[in-house]
Symmetry: C2
Subunit: 194 residues, 2 copies
């Protein structure tokens, strides 16, 4: 998605060989017009998938998810993150480790909002090691929901998450795929994923 | 805003005389079309205010804020919540107590994203005791930004937040104002606020 790649090139900051900071338009400050275009693109890619609901995770997944939900005409559910959950009654929960932040969170979704009648599109801002996405897939499975695929804003193709998720048979659509952040430079991946 | 009041009447659950649960369309599951209408309404009310940026707080403020940002054509910044901040360099921070959850959080915004060149519209999902809004006003002041006003999705008019914030001279626009949750029933406030 050209508009997104341009934005990454213009405003992204490479903090290390694995960390890309995009907090001027995605993670802290958010560009609503870019989110609108991202939402339209996800909606177009999953138009035929009979999505009934979007599942995402707070906080940076919410903006792209809400725009995708608008153009697909379906509600959005965001999983909540907590250091640890004490009350888990009536919740689907999963444990998610963040490699970047070096912390582990429990994520949860009310049992009211994911069911066997749902075909879910999972949306998140980043796909790196795939832990958040695995947690969301786990929650979808607990609810008996079908997963039509995952829509990712930025995939770090040099980390293993994309491979792990695709090997599980999940369709992953990433709007920008980064091949490398080495030498302080963003290199985008081209061509079709194996 | 009729569409919002109808939704509250249909789907809101009164948990106590002070707590209204709206997690089918605002706080956990989110209705993108309703958020779009809310965003348009905020944009219309603050169209003449020369807003340069929207300031909100994760997570439930993000969806209405991103839609308002879309229709005002300005970026959205969401403050992050943490139990306690250890690294505060390059951050504006404030401490916010939640009466509902009985917990205290530090909220923060990068110094990159609020400045004396900004005229802010602050958006949040609820206004009850006003603590989150006071924290956001504090952050705006630290950055030297002007605040054109606050756009609130649901104001609990029987709690003191609205009065406190208005007494500080801040324009508050609430799309639904609740006068009472007594006897398990939502009573909306009518007429002009003093």
């Amino acid at each position: 998605m050209e508009m997104l790649c341009d934005k990454i090139k213009e405003e992204g900051t490479v903090l290390s060989d694995t960390v890309l900071k995009v907090d001027t338009f995605l993670n802290h400050q958010v560009d609503p017009e870019l989110m609108q275009q991202i939402g339209k693109e996800f909606a177009a890619r999953f138009q035929e998938a009979n999505i009934t609901k979007i599942l995402t995770i707070e906080s940076s997944g919410i903006a792209p998810a809400i725009m995708a939900g608008l153009y697909l005409g379906v509600p959005v559910v965001f999983a909540r993150k907590r250091k640890s959950l004490t009350l888990t009654e009536h919740l689907f929960t999963a444990t998610v480790r963040s490699f970047t932040k070096g912390e582990t969170n429990d994520i949860s979704v009310s049992k009211d909002f994911v069911s066997s009648e749902d075909t879910l599109l999972i949306i998140d801002d980043f796909l790196a090691e795939g832990q958040a996405l695995l947690g969301l897939l786990d929650i979808a499975a607990q609810g008996g929901a079908e997963v039509a695929g995952a829509g990712i804003v930025i995939e770090k193709g040099f980390q293993q998450g994309g491979r792990i998720i695709r090997e599980r048979g999940v369709r992953v659509e990433s709007l920008a795929r980064i091949a490398s952040l080495e030498n302080g430079t963003v290199q985008f991946a081209r061509g079709v994923l194996s």
